[in-house]
Symmetry: C2
Subunit: 112 residues, 2 copies
DNA sequence: CAAGTATACCTAATTTTCTTATGTATAAGA
DNA sequence: TCTTATACATAAGAAAATTAGGTATACTTG
């Protein structure tokens, strides 16, 4: 993901989370959705996104379905049953991480 | 940082932030401080921390001062003037990132 | 007093996960 | 016709960790 090269490691979680919200999405759609949600501040790069999707599929968390729309191919991804569980796990893990990160960045709040 | 290999890229920010709070810290002290602040959930690995400290020093953001305490050597790090500015910048950048990440993880809140 | 744990520094090899660059192809708009 | 948008993909390189190893001193415990 571009726009600050932060948070390496959260891309798979983001993908899984979006697919919890929306049953089926294709790669390009995911890039646009993230851009929209963050008012253009996150720009997923294709070089990061596609390998991540392929990896999640290989791990059994996503299934694909190809459709032809307006003469262009779209590859739709959906969560498998395992993917659903993984989504919950990863999101929860990330949220725990963020809570702890806040404790480090803002020590006063956590100890007051 | 261990404990979930998330957030690659936030370690330098954490170090700079801690040195804003506390004038001088040495490496081992930083690992213990982070452990304490997160109730043991973040464990900085030395293989990540020391290279990060060296890099920040090489970039001119930290200065060092070695002390002998109880027969052991401690290398204290402090922010330079540039380091102080960099700390503010990095923390601000990370916080912006976290706000956007929340928008992606929790779309409902951001759009409601 | 020997052994293990804690303190305190360090580096190297490897892995993970990005960015950057490139390639293919179709559709729409200027 | 040329550029932008849509839509997929891979490969080379960089960044930033993990894992594993190394050195050394001090304290605790059996």
């Amino acid at each position: 993901m571009s726009s600050s090269k932060l948070l390496k490691g959260s891309l798979a979680t983001i993908v899984l989370r979006l697919l919890e919200e929306q049953e089926k999405m294709y790669g390009y759609e995911i890039t646009q959705k993230v851009k929209q949600l963050t008012a253009g501040e996150f720009k997923l790069t294709e070089g990061a996104l596609y390998p991540t999707l392929h990896k999640l599929e290989a791990e059994g968390y996503l299934t694909t379905e190809t459709q032809q729309v307006d003469g262009r191919v779209r590859k739709y991804y959906s969560l498998t049953k395992e993917g659903n569980a993984e989504a919950k796990a990863k999101v929860s893990e990330l949220e725990d991480f963020l809570v702890n990160l806040q404790k480090v960045l803002n020590p006063k709040l956590g100890l007051g």
